[in-house]
């Protein structure tokens, strides 16, 4: 059992949330004060298993998601621009690395422990599961369209209406089948996520308090 597994997912989520709030509390001209905060994403990156893969995925995500922030950043001084880029890189990398560290199921467990209503968590789990199935369905639809339109891959808005509508009808039918199957297997309104060994431990409290202390120091 490595170090990260000794800490419960909820402690990781809470610490990342505290980290995000502290980063957000800096003003627009505090670019250089933000640099030491890279310690947090780097350390949780090192706690995980696939360090290189996670790093590559995080960098990709930062580049893909940055245009809006960059556009807003160019209307200001250089200090503000750097500060915005640093804030963005820090908060996004911490969040993406957190998810790769604890996994989606870990995140849901954390939400259970943080007393988020069960209806929300069940909704998230179901959605995450079926998004893979529907993604394949969309690929088949697009393939069928490409084959029938003589290689013309552009979908007109009229075709889009019936394609998305058909996808929606299939989705409704699928939902019905899924619900029947869930009821047959004894679905009682909640999908089990939290295991007993994942409740709050002393190590979690020490971890959160320790990080909060480290992260708050540069604020003074």
């Amino acid at each position: 059992m490595n170090f990260s597994e000794k800490i419960s997912p909820q402690a990781h989520v809470l610490t990342t949330f505290i980290f995000t709030i502290i980063i957000a509390s800096f003003g627009r001209n505090d670019a250089f004060l933000l640099v030491p905060y890279f310690i947090y994403p780097v350390l949780i990156l090192l706690m995980g298993k696939n360090i290189v893969d996670t790093l590559v995925a995080t960098l990709k995500m930062i580049i893909v998601a940055s245009p809006f922030v960059l556009t807003l950043g160019i209307f200001g001084s250089w200090v503000t621009f750097y500060s915005l880029i640093l804030r963005f890189t820090l908060t996004v990398s911490a969040m993406i690395i957190l998810v790769s560290l604890i996994g989606f199921s870990g995140f849901c467990t954390a939400l259970v422990k943080l007393k988020i209503p069960n209806a929300m968590i069940t909704q998230m789990i179901l959605m995450h599961r079926y998004s893979f199935l529907l993604r394949d369905e969309v690929r088949r639809l697009r393939c069928a369209h490409a084959l029938r339109s003589g290689g013309n891959r552009k979908i007109s808005i009229r075709e889009f209406g019936s394609m998305a509508g058909n996808l929606l009808l299939r989705t409704f039918d699928r939902a019905e089948i899924i619900h029947q199957a869930m009821v047959c297997r004894g679905f009682n309104g909640t999908i089990p996520t939290a295991h007993d060994d994942l409740c709050w431990k002393a190590a979690d409290v020490i971890y959160i308090v320790g990080w909060s202390f480290i992260l708050i120091i540069p604020r003074f």
């Binding site: 993406i96 209806a119 929606l168």
Partner: protein, 333 residues
């Protein structure tokens, strides 16, 4: 249009977390009321909500070509979900969609989640959807969907601007920012509205019973939603946006004025053109322009600015409605 953690201050994040949480509690309570039981298990819509959430993701992979341009667009989620599930359930589904977008695609963030849920959940589900129901009774679905989804998106875009300005992280002046955001999102809204209405019309033809509260919609006499209430709430919204916010906006210079001020150090440029033609033209312009510098003549400055704001907002609404009618006429359905 997602807010990022980098753009907001903790206080703005907290306020919108609280607001969205309030709507979520209301949503959960009304679902429990609707199913008439405290147990969630008997609710067959649980799986439907989950699968429809993933449908929104999947449908956004289906890009369609935008006529006359090289680009492509995709569907807007909130209003379609509300049409299928009703406000409360759609709001919860939007929450899960936004959280997954934040976690896996870095669209949004942990602190900005409250803001995003408010902008892309509350406006489409609790403002645009009641408007849709009102319009769907009187007009064709295509018009109702176009208008309501555009207005929902514009409100969200305005909220993004307000949240960014209130946080004070980005240095972008308020007026050029909101002008750019609203004009870009007006175009996006009309395109998304057209795509969404194409789906709604298809669905209405194929399986009308899937539209939430369809029977009630067809029966005009049993209308539960009061027209007065909707009209009043929209008038109030327009008054807030046009009247109150324009006061705040007017104190900051607009993009061009701001640029001029920075370059020249003066608020207005004196061009030094004293030719009779120029002075005559400026006299005509001064007398004919209704909203010179966004103020009505013969009013006190603040009142004039407010009235200009309100009239401007109404003009935008009329423009959206006209656009929707034009597009609706061109289509076969």
């Amino acid at each position: 249009m997602h807010m990022a953690d980098a753009l907001i201050s903790p206080s703005v994040g907290a306020v919108f977390y609280a607001a969205s949480a309030g709507f979520a509690v209301y949503g959960l309570k009304s679902i429990k009321k609707e199913t008439n039981t405290l147990e969630y298990e008997s609710d067959s819509k649980v799986s439907l909500m989950g699968v429809l959430g993933s449908f929104i993701f999947a449908a956004q992979m289906l890009n369609f070509a935008i006529p006359l341009t090289g680009s492509s667009g995709h569907i807007g989620g909130g209003i379609l979900l509300a049409i299928l599930l009703g406000s409360s359930r759609a709001f919860l589904v939007m929450g899960s969609v936004l959280l997954i977008q934040a976690l896996f695609f870095a669209d949004g963030g942990l602190l900005a989640f409250g803001c995003n849920w408010f902008n892309l959940g509350v406006f489409p589900c609790f403002v645009a959807y009641p408007l849709w129901r009102f319009l769907a009774r009187k007009y064709k679905y295509v018009i109702a969907t176009m208008v309501s989804s555009t207005i929902g998106l514009l409100l969200g875009a305005a909220a993004v601007t307000l949240q960014t300005t209130a946080s004070g992280i980005a240095e972008l002046p308020f007026v050029p920012f909101i002008t750019a955001m609203l004009s870009i999102h007006l175009v996006i809204g009309l395109i998304e509205g057209a795509a969404t209405s194409a789906v709604v019309v298809f669905l209405h033809k194929a399986r009308p019973e899937l539209i939430f509260g369809e029977k009630e919609l067809q029966d005009n006499n049993k209308s539960r939603l009061s027209i007065k209430k909707i009209a009043v709430s929209f008038a109030v919204l327009t008054l807030i946006f046009g009247g109150f916010l324009s006061l705040y906006a007017a104190s900051a210079p607009d993009g061009l004025e701001w640029a001029i001020e920075r370059v020249s150090g003066k608020e207005d440029i004196e061009f030094g053109l004293d030719s009779p033609l120029h002075s005559a033209a400026s006299v005509i312009q001064e007398k004919t322009s209704l909203f010179a510098d966004y103020s009505l003549k013969s009013f006190s400055e603040k009142l004039g600015t407010s009235i200009s704001g309100i009239v401007g907002s109404f003009l935008v609404m009329i423009l959206i409605v006209c656009g929707a009618f034009l597009i609706a006429k061109r289509k076969a359905y």
